[in-house]
Amino acid sequence: MKAEIEVLHPGLFCTIQDTGRKGFLKYGVPMSGAMDLYAAKIANLILRNPPESAILEITQMGPKLRFSDPVKISICGAFLSPKINNLPIENNSVYRIEAGDELSFGKRQFGCRTYLAISGGFKTRKVLKSRSWLEGVTDNFKLNKSMKLPYESIDESKINLNAALKINSDYMLTSEIDVYPGPEFELLSETEQLILRSQSFSIDKNNNRMAIQLVEVLENNLKPIITGPVLPGTVQLTPSGKLIVLMRDCQTTGGYPRVMQLSETGMNKIAQKIIGDSLNFEFLG
């Protein structure tokens, strides 16, 4: 019989992700994948899973899950006070789950997104060669109550509970977001460029897996561009001055000027920010 996780409570927004959908950009299919790929990779690494194994991305408020069969798990990323059968556990460690055990979460201490990895990875259906959930592409796009998530129960002999990793969580706390100038950066005036280089910005309430908007407005006279390619990490500037940081589920093309491009690290960092968090752009190029 297949092992399953039963969703007792879905949390705020949980989604199955992997390293993303590769090879389908030309059909207009977003890349998807974990918002903080670094934390997702570490969660898998601790369990000796291949890096592209599917994990559960948990945003701000964790779910309550019941496991049908024994398995190993690890949690990396934001600290959301995880508990097994109501007993507190740590991030970045391996835990053995027994049949019937319940995993729940408590108060968020830092970060925005945490990653639950499971030995062998979640075995939800692959669509277009990836298990990443995306509205319109996969059957589900977020965890719902009573949903069942398939996994493979572990081979007893392989359990190694001493695989904790010392992880530096500083990247989740810093306000410095690493960026490169984007294709249209040079079209900004010197003053506008200076504002991007030196001012602080904060995370707007409009933020999700597609894009994170910033509160502060950058007045500008840039004209729209002929619709061109965009990527996760591309920062668009709208005529009204809104800065929109495109994230993993973003469209493949867009018509707003692309003023910055976040580095991979920059994307992992901003994925750990919540509404109201402030940030400044650290230019690499």
Binding site: L25, K26, Y27, G28, L128, P229, T253
Partner: protein, 244 residues
């Protein structure tokens, strides 16, 4: 090629952007698609994705680029002395559209605004051989060029919360088909039952950048018949080689 274009520059740690003259035209598209093919052939053993838009190519690496300088040089070499030859015959897809008032929610508005009869609208919309410039916005959404000027109309001031899957719309100088239900601001003139994106099929889209599209009118009953064929998996696109 003049010295300014194509312009090659780095976009973050994983991508290189190649830009051509800032215009929307068949000749730029031919250049873009020709070089896209060259890049794809060159990198066929490496994990690189190349997407095109009207005047850009994006070369996306599935890893961070180790040596950007080498990659840019490799692309420049690839473009050196390249003579653009026309793509061997593109495919021409004939796509059925039902312009029934029930589905063409904004036909009346377009008729009034642009002073055209329903027959004139259908005639103008089904006449051109549209060029597929690229797919973007939504999975399977075709950016089509070639809309008759007489049909141009501005987008809705207040976009609809829900535009039906298959809706055929016009926004400014563009026309297209919504591959799935979504919010949208285009003026809707009909609906096409054909599947533009199928997540369970590899590749998920049959019509690609560089192909041609021609619409033909079908009645409501023909529309329903084709919809039924699609449901039963019997539908096949009507296509021929386009010889200009």
């Amino acid at each position: 090629m003049n010295s300014k274009f194509p312009r090659i520059r780095v976009m973050g740690e994983r991508a290189i952007l190649v830009e051509f003259e800032t215009e929307i035209s068949e000749s730029i598209l031919q250049k873009v698609l020709f070089l896209k093919k060259k890049i794809e052939d060159h990198y066929h053993k490496v994990n690189v994705e190349v997407i095109n838009t009207y005047n850009s190519l994006l070369v996306y690496y599935d890893h961070t680029i180790d040596n950007v300088y080498n990659e840019v040089l490799a692309l420049e070499d690839l473009f050196q002395g390249t003579k653009i030859t026309k793509k061997s015959y593109p495919q021409l897809y004939n796509i059925p559209v039902c312009y029934d008032a029930e589905l063409g929610l904004d036909l009346k508005l377009l008729s009034k605004e642009n002073n055209l009869s329903l027959e004139q609208i259908i005639g103008l919309h089904t006449h051109p051989f549209y060029t597929v410039f690229f797919i973007g916005f939504l999975p399977g959404f075709l950016y089509l060029g070639g809309l008759d000027k007489k049909l141009q109309i501005s987008r809705k001031i207040q976009p609809r919360m829900l535009v039906q899957k298959g809706a055929v719309g016009i926004g400014e100088n563009q026309t297209g088909i919504y591959p799935k239900s979504s919010p949208g601001g285009w003026q809707i003139i009909g609906n096409s039952p054909v599947p533009l994106f199928d997540k369970n099929r590899l590749p998920p889209c049959e019509i690609l950048a560089g192909d041609k599209v021609k619409f033909y009118q079908v009645s409501k009953s023909e529309f329903e018949k084709i919809s039924e064929e699609i449901k039963q998996g019997k539908f096949q696109f009507k296509k021929t080689n386009y010889e200009g």
